[in-house]
């Protein structure tokens, strides 16, 4: 029975893959010529940045990015809201290796520098807040595994402020532009470049914080509450 199920699902997956491959081939042949690339190139000058990806993410389709940051904040929040989860707060799970510690003294500053570079590079070449935030979080994970104390990452007001900082600044810019009479999220002319860099900087901090919080900060709680639903 189980083998049959595996075989059937395997066949279904193969069929789906073949169908997808065929669809991509057919779609590539009958693709409609889009004027989107020309539009993008024509508007890039007014976007405040030179790299098209960053322009799309933080200017043309900034609403998507704002909501995606919201999704990340939700993920971070849900992570730290889960009660009674074992986490790395447990000292038994923390290593204190001398060699690791020595290595970290080299790695951590380098990684922080790399994060800053990726953030800066975003305006004219591949890079930006998401990549920089990921490197920042990786630095934090490394520090945590190496046993460095990180008091700020405990669930408290500082952590919550950090989680929401990037989102809040992004939103504040959006609201300010709406109140100033432009459309929601429209940057005032001439200030797009500076604002995008400012938003990317706080976003980097928050993204790093969220990813790190998911790794580290699940609280250990002994409280209970009766459940309402039944077993299914």
């Amino acid at each position: 029975m189980r083998r049959l199920l595996v075989l059937v699902s395997l066949a279904a997956c193969t069929a789906l893959t073949i169908a997808l491959a065929l669809a991509v081939l057919v779609a590539a042949e009958s693709a409609v010529v889009s004027e989107l690339p020309q539009q993008l190139a024509a508007s890039l000058g007014r976007s405040g940045v030179e790299h098209p990806t960053t322009a799309v993410l933080l200017n043309f389709r900034s609403y998507d990015t704002l909501l995606e940051i919201g999704v990340l904040v939700i993920a971070g929040m849900s992570g730290i809201s889960l009660a009674s989860t074992r986490s790395l707060e447990d000292p038994a799970l923390r290593s204190s290796d001398v060699l690791l510690y020595a290595l970290q003294r080299w790695f951590v500053p380098l990684m922080l520098l790399l994060a800053a570079y990726l953030l800066w590079a975003g305006s004219h070449r591949p890079g930006g807040a998401f990549q920089a935030g990921a490197v920042l979080a990786a630095t934090g994970v490394l520090m945590r595994l190496g046993g460095l104390p990180m008091a700020f990452i405990r669930p408290g007001v500082l952590l919550r402020l950090g989680l929401v900082l990037g989102f809040a600044v992004f939103l504040l810019v959006a609201i300010a532009s709406a109140l100033a009479g432009e459309a929601f999220l429209a940057y005032p002319p001439g200030m797009a470049g500076g604002l995008i860099l400012a938003i990317e900087t706080v976003l980097t901090l928050s993204i790093g914080m969220i990813l790190l919080a998911l790794f580290v900060a699940a609280p250990v709680s002994a409280e209970h509450e009766p459940e309402e639903g039944g077993g299914s």
Partner: protein, 487 residues
């Protein structure tokens, strides 16, 4: 207009910094703002017709446009009504002493932001982001403060929701690859009759959305998640969240279905919907736990929504319009009635301190008000006049007759009878007098009043169906130079 988008997001950010009690005051203020803004937008559209709103000052396809039409603003208003009711209920119902409850308000506001985003979305990728916002916030709310069983249900929900999202995203990628735009109206303008790749994309997207809407037989994740969540959360999930993915599926179908769909697909989806009505109602009748009864009833009621597909494919224009109106009414009346039912069920559980149906004996003396709200909501689910449920089924009945698809009539009638069976089963249990205990807890009056208001709204919907539907059918101005309107 902008207020509608940024208030929930701003409130989510602010309430994350506060604890549950202070967040409650902030949130009640926010709900008031949201209701007022939704009402003013509704009146603006009812007076002046729909419009496109370009975000960030960039027109689609380069930027993202919002489509503000009669249907969208009606759902925005519905969301404001149901979410406010659930929010006020939650503020009283949830225990503020628990450390994790502070996360309720941010999740609640993100959920609201996602819902508004989906109702107004006109861009396929933006709709995906809206869906993600909704799913993750909903999963977070189910898991909030829960123990092993709740976490298991939440994780199952998460996997189902992610799989559905990925299938949808795959379809979006295929469509973008072929047509070079993400705007739904843009794609509908260029798509031809025989496009196998686009048809596969539509199939993938519909499959993913059906999984997220819990269409039979993909409904396995819904009853545990909706059953185990706290009652105000269950009400939000059943009333609004499952409707969001259905709404996207319906929009896709109505824009692209006439060229990319097929009679087989339409009838197949309808048949699955019919199976959901029968199977969900039967399972609801058999459940030993009160909230599971309500959750399986959702599976059944969602089934009706999928009758949209056969009743709008290859039929005359007036018949299709009739079916669309019927489904819209069904969405609205089910949202109101099911939210009322879950909130009332929460009160009953609070009162008898047990989640079993057979523990309800004698509760009819002590909590007649909540029990009455439960029954009123049930009347709407059964589809008895003069409720919104009746008006919806009446329209669907007419559409089935007019399109010659008589077999759906049997489903509509049988579904009503089965709904009556599971609602009366609860009533029967509550009137039994052989209960050993007569020790009941009395919930605060606010908790009892809210489900009653919602149930009365569902009841009254049938009486005002005509004006509600007239707003839905408003003309939509596809103006080239779209300007922002800020109420």
């Amino acid at each position: 207009m902008a207020g509608l988008l940024f208030t929930p997001l701003a409130w989510a950010a602010l309430s994350l910094l506060l604890d549950f009690r202070r967040g409650r005051w902030l949130s009640w203020l926010g709900m008031l703002i949201q209701v007022l803004v939704s009402l003013s937008l509704w009146f603006a559209v009812a007076g002046g017709g729909g419009f496109f709103y370009a975000l960030a000052g960039w027109e689609a396809p380069l930027g993202i446009a919002l489509r503000v039409d009669g249907l969208a603003v009606s759902f925005v208003l519905l969301t404001a009504a149901v979410a406010t009711a659930c929010g006020v209920h939650a503020g009283v119902y949830l225990d503020p002493g628990k450390s994790w409850q502070r996360y309720f308000w941010p999740l609640f506001w993100f959920l609201w932001a996602g819902l508004n985003g989906v109702w107004l979305g006109a861009d396929l990728f933006n709709l995906y982001v809206g869906l993600e916002l909704i799913s993750l916030a909903a999963v977070g709310l189910v898991a909030l403060g829960g123990e092993a069983a709740a976490l298991r249900a939440a994780l199952r929900y998460l996997f189902a929701a992610l799989l559905g999202s990925l299938a949808y995203l795959l379809g979006v990628a295929l469509l973008y690859g072929q047509f070079g735009t993400l705007s739904l109206t843009g794609i509908a303008g260029v798509v031809g009759a025989t496009e196998p790749a686009a048809a596969l994309a539509l199939l993938l997207m519909l499959a993913g959305l059906a999984l997220k809407t819990a269409l039979f037989p993909l409904h396995g994740w819904l009853p545990p998640a909706h059953g185990i969540a706290k009652s105000p959360v269950s009400a939000l999930l059943s009333g609004l969240v499952v409707k969001a993915s259905f709404y996207i599926a319906a929009r896709l179908w109505l824009e692209l279905g006439d060229r990319l769909g097929s009679q087989l697909l339409a009838q197949g989806l309808g048949a699955l919907g019919a199976a959901a009505v029968l199977w969900g109602s039967w399972r609801a009748f058999r459940q030993p736990y009160l909230k599971q009864v309500v959750a399986y009833s959702s599976v059944a009621q969602i089934g009706y929504l999928f009758l949209l597909f056969p009743l709008t494919y290859a039929v005359a224009e007036p018949v299709s319009r009739l079916a669309q109106q019927g489904i819209t009414l069904q969405v609205i009346s089910h949202a109101l009635a099911k939210a009322a039912m879950f909130l009332a069920a929460g009160n009953l559980i609070l009162s008898v301190r047990s989640k079993r149906v057979d523990a309800l004996g004698g509760v009819s003396h002590f909590l007649p008000f909540s029990l009455f709200s439960f029954g009123l909501a049930g009347v709407s689910l059964m589809g008895m006049p003069p409720t919104g449920g009746f008006a919806a089924k009446w329209l669907l009945l007419q559409a089935s007759l007019a399109s010659g698809q008589w077999w759906w009539i049997a489903v509509l009638l049988l579904g009503g009878v089965l709904a009556a069976a599971y609602v009366f089963r609860i009533y029967r249990a509550s009137f039994l007098e052989d209960s050993v205990s007569d020790d009941f807890y009395h919930p605060p009056k606010t908790l009892e009043a809210i489900p009653m208001i919602l149930a009365l709204l569902a009841l009254g919907l049938g009486l005002v169906a005509e004006p509600v539907l007239s707003v839905l059918a408003l003309p939509f101005e596809v103006a080239a130079g779209v300007t922002a309107v800020q109420p």
